[in-house]
Structure formats: structure tokens, C-alpha cells
């Protein structure tokens, strides 16, 4: 069981002026593992996610990623070119609002095919076939391959975003509130899909959510953030059934159950 972690975040610090967004955050992520980052608004969880993805600069810290070739790269100090290439191939990022993660003016097929075209795939027929396969995998009717995402429902847009990210078989996918704003039945469908795809493709996932139900369903491990700090971490069931920290207890007790 001596397996190397896929990602190792070391002492990540990020402030916005005097506002501390992330203080000394460290954790590891293994292949196939789902890590949930939970907390309320302003906890710094989205900032952490964006910092790990290289979309935000950090004040200090390391984000050590083990690439497919086994090389360890610190994404903080990596070049723009390296980081951008990784984000298009081995990493995925599912945005909270699908419109931020999709090209709304291009068809579903074009959206799914883009990452493949970016890495040099130039056969139209193959690209289309791959797009069709993925649409099926995310339960979007293949007839809609030439439709614009504008014409899709929120849940469909999210599923399209997932397909767009998974098409290059990334090893890590970051998700920022993937079910935010969706109706409960739509949410359930999306979560089910995520659960299955994560298992099938052995993707490591970091999912930021304020919804403990989503965390319970998707995540193996959780980190609870409050005001930029990780107050508690452990297995999902440990944190939700036996919360130690006062804030975790508060979060857990605040959840309505049906």
C-alpha cells in the first residue's frame, strides 16, 4: 500500500490585503480519493480551490503535483505554460456556474471536443464520436450534440461541463459547488453521475461545498474550513458522526434532515 500521493499541498497561505483567506493549509490527496472541503461563506474554501488550480496567486506555500510521468511539479512555481497545459489535460475544473466553464456560443459537441482539439486531435469524425459517447455517459440526449448550451437546463449544462472536463481523462478534478443552485431532483441526478464517474475513472476529486449532504455522498474525507483555517479533518463519517471541533459540531447540528 505504499502509494505516492497525487497532490501534496504544503502550508498554503493567501491573504487579500489584511483579509486572511487561507492560513497554513496543508493536505494530501491520493488517486481515486474524493476530498470535500466544507464550510460556510467566507471560510476560504473557494479561494483554496482556486489557489490550488493556479487561478489565484498565493503568498506562500507549495502545491506539489505528481504528473502522469511521475514527475513532481510545484504548481505555484511552475511556468504559465506548464500550468495551463496541465489544467487542460491532467486536471479538470468544474465551475459552480456552468456558463463560466463552458463556451456558451458553441455547440455541446464543440464544448466536449475542445480539450481534445487543444492536444492535437484533428479528426472531425472521431471527435464527434467521442463527444457522443460522453454525452451518453452524462445522460444528455445525443441528438443535442449540435445544440447550444444556452438551450440546456441548468442540470444539463452542469453535466456538459463535467463531460467537457473528463474527456481527457484527468487525474484530478476540482469542483466548486457543483450542485449549487440546482433543484433537488436535478442535484440528485448530478451527484449520482459524479459518484459513478469518479469510481469508474478513478479520478481524484476535491469538491468544495457548503452542503453536508453532498459531502456525505461524494467525499471519502473532509476538511472543515472556518475563516481561512482548517479546523478539523478526517474521514467523512468521522467528521459528520463524531465532530470534535466546536465549529464542526455547529455545522452538523445545523443541517435539516428530511
Amino acid at each position: 500500500m505504499i502509494e505516492m500521493p497525487l497532490l501534496s499541498v504544503e502550508s498554503l497561505n493567501k491573504t487579500f490585503g489584511r483579509q486572511v483567506a487561507c492560513r497554513d493549509v496543508s493536505f494530501e490527496l491520493w488517486p481515486g480519493e474524493v476530498l470535500g472541503i466544507v464550510g460556510e461563506s467566507g471560510s476560504g474554501k473557494s479561494t483554496l480551490l482556486n489557489a490550488i488550480a493556479g487561478r489565484l496567486s498565493v503568498d506562500s506555500g507549495k502545491v506539489l503535483y505528481r504528473t502522469a510521468t511521475g514527475q513532481i511539479t510545484d504548481l505555484i512555481s511552475a511556468s504559465d505554460a506548464q500550468r495551463r497545459h496541465l489544467m487542460r489535460t491532467e486536471w479538470g475544473f468544474v465551475q459552480q456556474h456552468a456558463r463560466d466553464g463552458l463556451r456558451m456560443g458553441f455547440s455541446a459537441g464543440a464544448n466536449i471536443g475542445e480539450r481534445l482539439m487543444a492536444i492535437g486531435q484533428k479528426h472531425y469524425g472521431n471527435l464527434r464520436d467521442t463527444a457522443l459517447d460522453w454525452m451518453q455517459a452524462v445522460e444528455i440526449s445525443p441528438e443535442r450534440i449540435d445544440d447550444l448550451p444556452r438551450t440546456f437546463s441548468g442540470g444539463m449544462q452542469q453535466r456538459l461541463q463535467i463531460a467537457r472536463n473528463l474527456v481527457t481523462h484527468p487525474r484530478i478534478v476540482l469542483m466548486d459547488e457543483p450542485t449549487g443552485g440546482l433543484d433537488v431532483s436535478v442535484q440528485a441526478r448530478l451527484l449520482d453521475l459524479l459518484r459513478r464517474l469518479v469510481q469508474e475513472h478513478n479520478v481524484a476529486v476535491i469538491v468544495v461545498t457548503h452542503d453536508l449532504g453532498v459531502a456525505r455522498l461524494l467525499a471519502h474525507r473532509l476538511m472543515v474550513m472556518r475563516r481561512g483555517e482548517v479546523v478539523e479533518a478526517g474521514l467523512t463519517d468521522q467528521l459528520l458522526d463524531d465532530p470534535q471541533h466546536a465549529y464542526t459540531q455547529l455545522l452538523v447540528s445545523s443541517v435539516l434532515s428530511v
Binding site: D80, R103, F106, S107, G109, E114, I119, H123, Y124, G125
Partner: protein
Amino acid sequence: MSSLQQSYQTTATLDGYNFGFLDEQTKRMLRRAILKAVAIPGYQVPFGSREMPLPYGWGTGGMQVTAAVIGGNDILKVIDQGADDTTNAVSIRRFFVRMTGVATTEKTREATLIQTRHRVPETPLSEGQILVYQVPIPEPLRWLEPRETETRKMHALSEYGVMHVKLYEDIAQHGHISTAYDYPVLVNGRYLMRCSPIPKFDTPKLHMNGALQLFGAGREKRIYAVPPYTDVKPLDFEDHPFEIERWPEDCALCGAGDSFLDEVILDDRGGRMFVCSDTDYCGERRAAGHVGKMSAPYKEEAAE
């Protein structure tokens, strides 16, 4: 007085204007930009675009490039949509005559410097000739990515996947790549470039051309270049390769089957004919005795 300056003095320029309209320092700035552009084929070099005596959108970029490279011994040809006699071509040609006193010609073969809007001459160009294109929008990624900061990064990192996305979309929506002009090409295997609004038909002419090809965008303030004998490849898909346009008929005047044809409506009953867009090419063919189905035998016309 240097011999260069002397040669300038001998040609008849309009009183009060410097040779070529622009001052010498401006021309040097432009030439520096052009040299850089030639050194990095297909790369858009920013330059300090000057006010020209016509508004943006009318060829100011092309004119600045021409003004920078034109010399007293040049023979200038100016075409617009392939024709020497449209208003724009006439105006620009007259401007340079006034500003430089150079000789002009309508014959592609005789010209040393050709400024063009939206067409490449049919007659193949040779070493020693310069072709200056007028460019409205230099950035091939502009419609896909409005941010200049982002497009610069994409060029720097060769992130051109999104251009293929547009072509994919064309095929998905129309069954074929519908870009009919200003086709995106990859220059020297490195930079993605716009050819300026020349028809798809002309795109292959850029490849391995003996002439120096310069591109000037006045409003957008960019110059780029394709040096002689450079690799220029249109983007396409393996299973949807690049294809040029074809017409159902040959040129009605000269019978050419290998040139870009304009469609001319003859009457209101749907009558039409196809005619070479390149007036010089058509004229030469007719002078050589070729006929199309609509032409009378060619007659010598008085020089302008």
C-alpha cells in the same frame, strides 16, 4: 546630402511633403517593426500607427507599410478586390504618385511593389516583389477570445485548440468549413495568422511564395509578415481537408478556369456571367488571344 536623399530629390513629390508622406523617423520605426515581423513569420508586431489622410478601415495600415518600403525606383501597383480601377485603388495609387513620384503599372509582372485589398494577384509573384496586404482585424482568435491579454498568451503558448473548435462548429452546423475568406493559417509551423479578407481561393498562394508578403493593420496597429518561401498551412481536419472554391463556368471574357471569378448579374431574368476578379490577369489572357464565351476579340486600349 547622401545619395539616398539625392535620389529622393530627383523624383517629383508634392510640395511640402516628405517622400512617401511619412517622416523619416516614422518610416524607420515601421521598418524596424517590419524587420521584426519578417524575423518571426506570422507574429503580430505592434507599431505606432500614424494618422493617414483617410480614415481607419480604408487601408491605412497597408499604406503605412507601403510608405515605409517604397523607394524612388519602385514600380507600384495598387488593386482592390483584384481590380486596378476601383475608386480605392485609384485613390491610393494617386496618393503615392503624389507623395513619391514613382512609376505605376497595372501589370503584376512589371510591379516591384503591390498593395492589395482582399485579393492576391493571379499571376504568380517572383523573388524581389513585395506584396502588401490591407488588414482589418489581425488577430485570428479575436472572435473566440476578446481579451488581448489572453490572445497574446495563447499565441505565446501555441494554444490554438480553440481555432479548431470554430472549424468543428462550422462542419457541425453547415456540413463543411464555412470560412470563405480570411482563412486561418499556421505560418512556419508556429504562429496562427489571418490572411486578411482574401478569399479561401487565394490562401494557397501564400505558401512558398517567392515574394515578400507584408500585412498592415492601421486601426489595430499591427504588422506581420510572411517571408519568401515560408510554409503556410490552412487549418483543417484530417477528414475535412482544406478546399478552394470552384465555379460552374469559366471566365466569360478570357475563358480562364483557374482564377477567382466574380459573378456579374446581367439582367433581371437571372442572367449572369462569371468574370475574372483580377483585371490584369484577364486582360493579359485576352491579349494573348484567349476568349471566353462572352468576349469580343481583345482590342488594344489607350494607356491611361
